[in-house]
Amino acid sequence: MSSIREIRRHIRSVRNISKVTRAMQMVAASKMRRAQDQVLATRPYAQKAWELLTHLAALAVRTEQDEHPLLAVRPVNAVGLVVITSDKGLCGGYNHNLLRVATEYLQAQEKPVKVITVGRKGRDFMLRIRANLVAEFTGVPALPTLLDVLPIARTVLDDYLAGVYDEVLLAYTDFVNTLVQRPVIRRLLPLRVAGDLTEQAVSEYVAGGPQVRIPEYIYEPDPQAVLAQIVPRFTELQIYQAILESIASEHSARMVAMRNATENANELVDQLTLSFNRARQTAITKEILDIVGGAEALAKSAQR
């Protein structure tokens, strides 16, 4: 049995740990809420841009214009996979779950896959499994602005247009609610404006908008020029949304992990307190026995 002093020290350190994990839990909760608010704030822009985008793309088809390079479906020779993970750990199974989905995809895909990672955890993992890593980004701020995400979007757009890959997928974590975060792989490019929307990344932010019939516009300078502006913007926006979703998921996973850690620490403190009291009681009993024994010995010697 460990000494009273040792137990006391152990209790103190576990209590400190529980204080730290509780603080981390609260910080994660507030960051999660902010990331969530921010991704919802992109909705008005996404809806309007999507509305104009579909209109312009339909118009281009009707007037038999060449398709915009970001809308055109090409035969796929190589695939780009953008893997969004966190820089930091201590967030439960968050990174692990996403990387598992990404690995499964890498194994199932027969075409060569070029990987772009966002976040240190994803980069380290991809290097370890010797995936074909073509670009990596770390140090995305806790609450990024669109500007922070532009370098990532630029890399993907440039490589896509240069033919480095013919399809780009986003692997990110969809924030469902505080308890459920779903790792998903969705298409980023080419942007398909017709057909099933759910395959497209972060489609939830364009769905549900008011479906108005768009009348004939005056275009300045011309529809193609406007379309050429909107399509890259929309791609940037999708990456931005995916990163915000992932950040909200990361914080929510961390919040749950830290809550479990705090609970475990408190339980341990309870157990340790119990053994501390027991050890103390034993010590007291032993001391009393010593005193009583001593007193009895004295009494016996006095009688004699």
């Binding site: 996404a46 669109l146 275009y219 300045e220 020029a225 406007v226 913007r233």
Partner: protein, 145 residues
Amino acid sequence: MPTTRLEVITAERVVYSDDVDMVLVPGVEGQLGILPRHAYLLTALTEGELVIRKAGQEDEYIAIGGGFMEVGPDHVTILADSAERAEEIDVARAEAARKRAEALLAEKRDVTALAEAAAALRRSRVRLQVARRRKRGGRGGLENE
């Protein structure tokens, strides 16, 4: 007098949303003045200042960094790459950004870098221009630098 509903939206937030009497925007092919009951119009915008005019009120200014605009008879929706209202602009930071852009422009570099630096310079100039309007509080000319 009819009014038109102006919404200035960036990817990050809704910057402005109100009924206005007139709005002046920096189109790619020159300044555009949009009044209520305008025909349907879809256009790309460049960096510049957005002037919002409401009857009986002082003009409001927003610095925008390019984007596009959709106009209908009763609404004007501007999807801006960036947008800041005059009161939000940090003059010191904008000034620093302008200096930085000028320094970059002075270096001889490849064409895309040069074009980017020039765009950055235009954006910072617009921002300063809009910020200064707030200080003067007056209705200045709309001529570009």
